[in-house]
Point group: C2
Chain length 124, copies 2
């Protein structure tokens, strides 16, 4: 089967992660990465100047705060944060998510080095 494209179960891949806010790449579509992540607690407010960012929830519930309000998103739901828009993901109980965005995106966006800034483009 080595000549066949790999198949990734997104939720199962995300369950391999124990550290929150440490996305890992599981597939690439041209220059776009599919990542999985475990999220727990609050991420800092930030934005991405150069790209949109898609959140797809796999397990649990995520709150996405925006300047004008909050979206609550659950399993199977997709929300694309437009480039430049301030946002803060958080999850009190913890959640497993997929992030879809171009390779090389800094997780904390415009922020100076934050405690949650992590290396980009690390494969699972």
């Amino acid at each position: 089967m080595t000549n066949l494209p790999p198949v990734v179960n997104l939720a199962a891949a995300s369950r391999q992660l124990n550290e929150p806010w440490q996305p890992r790449v599981v597939a690439a579509l041209n220059d776009v990465h599919f990542k999985v992540a475990y999220v727990l607690g609050e991420f800092p407010w930030h934005h991405h100047d150069d790209t949109d960012e898609a959140f797809l929830i796999l397990e649990g519930e995520v709150l996405l705060d925006f300047p004008d309000g909050t979206r609550t998103i659950g399993p199977g739901e997709l929300c694309v944060v437009p480039k430049g828009l301030e946002h803060r993901p958080r999850s009190a109980e913890g959640a497993r998510i997929a992030l879809i965005e171009p390779a090389g995106v800094r997780n904390t966006g415009n922020l100076a080095d934050d405690a949650k800034t992590t290396e980009s483009d690390v494969w699972l």
Copy 2:
């Protein structure tokens, strides 16, 4: 809530479709479209010269045939078909899927107009 980014339930969106092989766009990430589709029966063999194409299964089972074999993919599973690789999706029982690929991609790829060729970039 009008200033908040929309949230799309991919499976629910896909259930709005009754015609097989007629993808509909539900979200955009930069120049990449998230589409949903209902698939049933066999699609023609084809490839895309200029882009990879991601299949994410929402409900049901899809077989992806390649020159070297077949992948069977089910709910929550993702398979990225590399650009240039011949493939044929099929589903005997029918399935609901998401397709992630750049805007403007022709569904039947390199084929001359086929019975299944359909307009690109039509939003749900």
